[in-house]
Assembly symmetry: C2
């Protein structure tokens, strides 16, 4: 781990946070040895930190002696305004959208150079999606990601477009110039449509959610089977849901974009 990237990682607080960071979706349960190895901390240091985190409830020990993220941490993290707070306000609108379309509905925010999914309602007979609540994904190939990137500061946009982009399918757009044009279209039309960008059978259609300062704070999308829906027929439904969520946040698009 490159410690120079983050000022906190060298301090005691930073080491405790590194222990929490050792847990991932693919490794949600870790032994003390796993934690020591993943954090590059000596076993004695890891042992002391894990003890402190467990006594507070940030970690829990299971019956087999493995450690996992504790409910106490989840309780406090539930206060994150961009996490459960946003999800709580948005849920009725997302449920309506899911019921009317019968498809997958997603709510996401941008964290640095990624999409983070805040809510995901699975459509009962829709196409399978790869996302997970609390999970990250790339910005450029997803509807929510393009909406969030289109309204991100220009330096973030250029940073993302200057990186090598993952080609998920033969159709995944990886050309910076064409992506730049796609983002301009998203700003112009108020909607992003991504066909066959992540899997060959899916299309995602997304619209922005505005906060009180007319800034884009989140994006809402429907992900459906590309042959089952007319993507553009979904647009007004998604825009109604996105406007409903914006209104709940006391937000609205800037005057020029109403």
């Amino acid at each position: 781990m490159d410690e120079g990237n983050r000022s906190a990682t060298g301090s005691v607080t930073g080491r405790a946070l590194r222990v929490l960071e050792a847990f991932t979706p693919t490794a949600p349960v870790l032994t003390l040895t796993d934690i020591s190895r993943r954090t590059s901390l000596p076993l004695t240091t890891a042992h002391r930190l894990v003890g402190e985190l467990t006594s507070w409830g940030a970690l829990e020990r299971d019956q087999d002696g493995g450690y996992r993220i504790g409910l106490r941490l989840w309780e406090i993290a539930a206060l994150a305004p961009r996490g459960l707070g946003l999800r709580e306000l948005a849920l009725p609108h997302l449920s309506d959208l899911g019921r009317v379309t019968g498809e997958n509905v997603q709510l996401a925010v941008r964290e640095e150079l990624s999409v983070v999914y805040v809510e995901r309602l699975a459509g009962q007979k829709s196409v399978p999606v790869l996302t997970r609540v609390g999970g990250r994904f790339a910005l450029t190939p997803t509807g929510v990601g393009r909406v969030l990137l289109a309204h991100a500061p220009p330096e973030i946009q250029e940073h993302v477009l200057s990186q090598p982009l993952v080609r998920y399918t033969e159709r995944t757009e990886c050309d910076p110039g064409r992506l730049r044009q796609a983002l301009a279209e998203v700003r112009h039309t108020g909607v992003a449509v991504c066909e066959r960008q992540v899997t060959m059978d899916s299309v995602s259609v997304a619209a922005p959610v505005y906060g009180p300062g007319s800034e884009v704070v989140a994006a809402v999308s429907v992900v459906a089977h590309v042959e089952a829906v007319q993507a553009y027929a979904l647009v007004p439904l998604i825009q109604v849901a996105a406007s409903g969520i914006s209104r709940t946040l006391n937000g609205a698009p800037p005057p020029g974009r109403r």
Copy 2:
């Protein structure tokens, strides 16, 4: 704050965790001065810890300079098996229960001497409920709480019953003897019915969710207007949902209780 209660609170890790703990549902945004006051930490110490937590993403600074819980913490906390993990597995069953009944549906676990709500779906025309995802509530007056307490270790039961209990309504049961009997009935019948215990117009009906070791890991309930439903008519629906969630967890009731 009594520092003797928690071994971690005196250490640097403990102080960082105390900063996180300063945030509550009623105070989700705090200034540095608020944090210093709530944690009883000197302003300089609070300033350093807040800086470290913010640089890692456990806290975020808003436009007005206030601090709030950050999305990065929420992402990691989403890995808590008893939080979002459980919720993710349970959601399809909870949605079905909500759709069929049209009432409020709740999923909860026990943390020490409290109920913690892991999911809450609001019924569109149902009675208002006081709960919040990630929020705590008392064990004895709620359906989910009685299920969880009925299957808790005897020392936890006695600890709860020996404390003064909050009287939410004139009907709230606060007598330890009658509550002990109610818990025995919950174990015998496999269901808890709480009428007018939290508000005078509500009834909650709850059933246990079993884990792989036949232990009760959660409880699912419907909360409805007391005059709108026959509580006992809800029982089979709730038991079907609870069994469905148990099955998803590879869990089942002990042989005697199938």
